[in-house]
């Protein structure tokens, strides 16, 4: 299953990529692929912006505006005027 098309903020800076493949290892959606020691994006629409690739890249070759894909969290963020927050930590909520 895929979510909305053409929305992901995922960016790959090939000039910084060493082809180590760590991003491929951590991506749960098979967004990236390595051919000839170069990583490339094979399917942008599969990206869920979890940020695992960016967090684990030692060469800052990937950038993504990571966050939770949770409507309740985004609505809470809008109401409180802050970042998306589903409230799972501080108080009971229905999400995750």
């Amino acid at each position: 299953m895929k979510y909305l098309a053409n929305v992901t903020s995922l960016q790959l800076f090939s000039e910084r990529c060493t082809g180590c493949g760590r991003c491929i290892e951590v991506c749960p959606r098979a967004v990236l692929e390595r051919t000839d020691r170069i990583v490339r994006i094979v399917d942008r629409d599969r990206c869920i912006e979890c940020g695992a690739c960016m967090m684990n890249c030692a060469f800052a070759a990937i950038r993504v505006n990571a966050g939770v894909g949770c409507a309740s969290a985004v609505i809470n963020g809008m109401l409180r005027g802050g970042e998306p927050e589903c409230g799972c930590v501080d108080r009971p909520s229905g999400c995750c």
Partner: protein, 381 residues
């Protein structure tokens, strides 16, 4: 307790478990049933955990699926635990301190010798805690230090669940602790195969799945929060629809209130049950659109094919078709938080379109309800 504080049942904190909640004059409490014994290490005794589900834990697993309050407080102490007869080079698996995450991990390790390092994620599962950063580099570095893990083992490799990766900067952890990180499979179901393969995960193990069984497991947590809202709706709709010039009439409550309750319940089930179950087969990628489509179809079918004709006035039909599909759509949109294939940019895009539509639906429903009542009272024809 902050995730940054050093606390919980690290290897040296066994006494804390033995005297758990010890009040003056009370006998010491027994360690929990899932602690099978202790092993001595260079950093002190470490609890060895059972790899079986006890009856109480099976009940707990079920309760987590249904009761939010129970689930939010189902925790295990952070720290180091052992499985089997762990040695200085046994694998170290890292997990969250949500008891259910811990239980799935320790029971998956039956027959293996391993260490489990439990992070303080405030009782939240790995994926959600990684998204919030509580299953993160800072807590991992802190927990490695305060459990004196480097004294317990010779190995300098940690195995983290792959879904913990969004919270962890592996290079930073390596730099600070000298422990390198390997990411295990997405699902604990594949953990045994991963360990047997020498800690190698194939593409299948790396991909998150979200099949019908996963979606069914999540259904109760979609329905139960929505039921609270439904109860308020039920009381309000029955009272309002039962209101006549003579007062609140039981007959009107039944004649108009019952069909309205059916439509409300149908919208709730469309958004929280049918949309998640039929997710891959309902047209559109947008959850709001899926919920609207399904809610609209079911509302129209009930209204024109099932419910009594007396209920189906022009204004009531208009009100139903404006309100219930939007309600179903809103509830379906909440399921984005339960899936593993939605992203924040997509959710924001959905909300930019859906929220104004929900507001419009609410604003239109109110005058339509007034018109329904004016017709009921015979003020308009």
């Amino acid at each position: 307790m902050s995730a940054n504080e050093c606390c919980g049942s690290s290897a040296g904190d066994i006494r804390e478990i033995e005297v758990f909640d010890l009040g003056a004059g009370k006998a010491p409490m027994k360690p929990p049933e899932w602690i099978a014994g202790f092993t001595d290490t260079a950093a002190g005794p470490v609890p060895i955990v059972s790899t079986e589900w006890s009856r109480r834990e099976k009940r707990g697993r079920l309760k987590c699926r249904f009761f939010n309050r129970f689930r939010m407080d189902y925790k295990v102490d952070p720290g180091v635990y052992g499985v089997g007869t762990p040695g200085r080079n046994s694998p170290i698996l890292v997990t969250a301190n949500y008891k259910l995450s811990f239980d799935y991990l320790r029971t998956a390790l039956a027959g293996f010798d391993a260490w489990i390092l439990v992070l303080d994620t405030q009782g939240i599962n790995v994926w959600c805690a990684a998204g919030k950063g509580t299953f993160g580099s800072e807590e991992l570095i802190n927990r490695i230090g305060c459990t004196r893990l480097a004294r317990i083992v010779d190995t300098r490799r940690l195995i983290l669940p792959q879904l913990g990766a969004p919270g962890v900067r592996a290079p930073a952890v390596k730099a600070k602790t000298h422990f390198s990180i390997s990411y295990g499979p997405v699902s604990v179901r594949d953990l045994r195969a991963y360990l047997r393969a020498g800690c190698q995960a194939d593409a299948q193990m790396r991909a998150v799945r979200f099949g019908l069984k996963d979606r069914l497991t999540l259904l109760p947590m979609e329905v139960t929060p929505a039921l609270k809202g439904f109860l308020i709706y039920l009381i309000a709709s029955v009272l309002i629809l039962g209101l006549q010039p003579e007062g609140i009439l039981f007959r009107s409550m039944i004649d108009s209130g019952a069909p309205a309750a059916v439509l409300g319940l149908a919208a709730l089930l469309c958004g929280t049950v049918l949309t998640p179950i039929l997710l891959p087969w309902i047209p559109f990628r947008s959850f709001a659109a899926k919920g609207f489509l399904l809610g609209g179809a079911v509302t129209a079918a009930l209204l024109f094919l099932v419910l009594p004709q007396g209920f189906r006035s022009t204004w009531m039909s208009a009100l139903s078709l404006v309100f219930f599909p939007a309600a179903s759509s809103y509830l379906a949109l909440q399921f984005t938080g339960s899936t593993c294939f939605t992203g924040i940019s997509g959710v924001r895009k959905e909300l930019r379109v859906a929220l104004p539509l929900y507001a419009a639906s609410a604003c239109l429903s109110l005058p339509l309800l007034v018109l329904v009542k004016l017709k009921d009272f015979g003020v308009i024809g």
